[in-house]
Symmetry: C2
Subunit: 349 residues, 2 copies
């Protein structure tokens, strides 16, 4: 997922940074970013050019591959529209897709807590298989560890994925140009609200299901249709706003969004109002943005609407005004979108 | 690691199998095996031929690759001779090596517990880098999640790895033949005893350090030296005995071992006696067995002794007597080695 890969250049220091890990270090906001910049980037000797945003590009023996990983700690394990198994397959499939790759093979690493009902494990494994079949990938290797009661939370899953790069040119923030169009593949906010609803027993569970779904078919359709893709980003932790803030920063551009073009289902909007959440920052697991040259926007939309009728052009890239960033054009005027400072929804994925 | 990959055909049902996960499900013995056979194999649609023992072989776009994963939950995070970071790099490097592959790229997935000192994370990341440099691999993509206090244990690590297959022929139990020689790369039992000593404050910490080390250079040296490799197995959870029991079962052969050829350092032997452990079942993180045709044994030993003077031919493969299995020739006669029934040393890796 975008916010979790070791890809972000320097980002602003949060106030009151501490010397222990906080939940917000996993939230996809400023603290996640600092962890990457302060620890992983120097420790692993990462150069920005080593990476595409959602995975690594590898050239091995003449083959052009994408390689990515994510761990999944979502709570609860089962939620409306999915479970940790389908999430773990689709999340990694989607990271490969965002590299412009056809997902092919997955590994699965399980950390089980002593006392987990074996039937839960069975359900999760069956769900992983279903999701893998639906996404056209094969689970080919794996590992299981068990930890004592109170040292886990039922079940954590890691998946890593290998795919074949299909995009003719790199898909990366550095290819984003002023004049490009920003396209959103569907409505936003379903996953985060579905999780929160079931977790907090808010009483609107039945209305809202997670958007958890594989995105590779839609991306490959864009590539096969000859759409020039400058950047792709799936909108997970931190939602649409965080994904676009990252792209704007990495590309050193400003992105202008039209609020009224961003689809939010009425039940999601209502739930966000009750919960005090901004749908722009709520996690999704089956939505992405594509940044394309303006003259490819209509073609991209025609392709994406085969998969979701709500796909829409939601904004444009302009030259940076003072600093890079994301502006939201609302009825009340321009609003600057900023990084999440803390943790909005822990363990959403 | 061998015992953790989804590779084992049916194994005997343990007495008193329960419907919840127990620590022994992660121990590499009968219960681990049942989990694989009863849940993962049917759920993921795995065929035995899909797999090599320690990872999957992939053919992508003309490239012959190996792909593997392991999660690491070792307790404590830091131990004599290594830490969870070096273990996570070497463990996955070694699984690729056991496929006959040159390890190239690793992913890292971290699950951090709220409250982990950031300095511990920094130490682990630095150790991963050192281990990666030593093993000649690059960490190219990663992910970080944070869970609440009491839902983890400081830090869990998953690594997945991609390598280039270098062995001209498959390395797998099905290639093991009566007449083959079994070679062990060094002395056994160091890792498990080092962990246990520091965990239980047994007072002999300073004498015994983990054997945690990368094995790829030794394997590639065997391949480059033209040694015909029928099977390789690194000896992690469950130790030498479990690794050989798995090979014997998968190859449908009997393996005869000479106890006096198996090197065990005196401090390790002493600690095992105090603790009531059998060194044959104690975990290692830098030892492997190679099963080779008898007429390649001398050449294999000459190569392996460049890396460890204690490398030795410890036994031979014979046609199965009634059932497949492993026999240990001791001063007192033949002893049949059986699966571990429970969990000897939880969270050893």
């Amino acid at each position: 997922m975008s916010d979790s890969s070791f890809t972000a250049p320097a980002c602003p220091l949060p106030a009151g940074a501490s010397d222990i890990i906080e939940l917000a270090h996993g939230g996809g906001g400023r603290l996640t970013c600092r962890l990457i910049d302060d620890i992983f980037r120097p420790a692993f000797g990462l150069a920005p050019d080593d990476f595409t945003h959602d995975g690594a590009e590898l050239g091995i023996d003449g083959a052009r591959l994408a390689f990515t990983t994510d761990s999944y700690v979502v709570r609860p394990l089962f939620f409306p529209g999915g479970d940790i198994g389908s999430l773990a397959v689709n999340g990694t499939v989607n990271d490969l897709a965002m590299c412009g790759a056809q997902p092919l093979y997955l590994s699965v690493g399980l950390i089980l807590e002593e006392g987990l009902p074996i039937d839960d494990l069975r359900r999760v494994a069956a769900s992983m298989r279903q999701a893998a079949l639906a996404a056209g990938v094969r689970i080919v290797t794996g590992d299981t560890k068990v930890v004592e009661r109170g040292k886990g939370d039922g079940l954590y899953v890691n998946t890593a994925g290998v795919g074949l790069l299909r995009a003719p040119r790199p898909i990366a923030p550095r290819r984003v140009r002023p004049g490009d169009t920003v396209i959103l593949s569907g409505d936003i906010g379903r996953h985060g609200v579905a999780i929160l609803a079931v977790r907090e027993a808010l009483g609107f569970e039945t209305e809202i299901t997670s958007d958890c779904a594989p995105l590779a078919a839609a991306v490959l359709d864009l590539i096969d249709g000859g759409v020039e893709l400058h950047c792709l980003r799936d909108l997970t932790r931190g939602g649409l706003a965080t994904g676009l803030i990252e792209i704007a920063r990495d590309a050193n551009v400003t992105i202008e969004l039209d609020e009224d073009r961003i689809a939010v289902a009425e039940p999601v909007r209502g739930a966000c109002e009750i919960l005090g959440l901004d749908p722009l920052y709520v996690a999704n697991e089956g939505r992405f943005v594509a940044v394309v040259p303006a003259d490819h926007a209509e073609r991209a939309l025609a392709h994406l609407r085969r998969f979701d009728a709500q796909a829409a052009a939601i904004g444009r890239v302009i030259a940076p005004e003072r600093a890079s960033g994301v502006h939201l054009a609302t009825l009340g005027g321009l609003r600057e979108l900023d990084w999440l400072s803390g943790e909005q929804l822990p363990r959403i994925c």
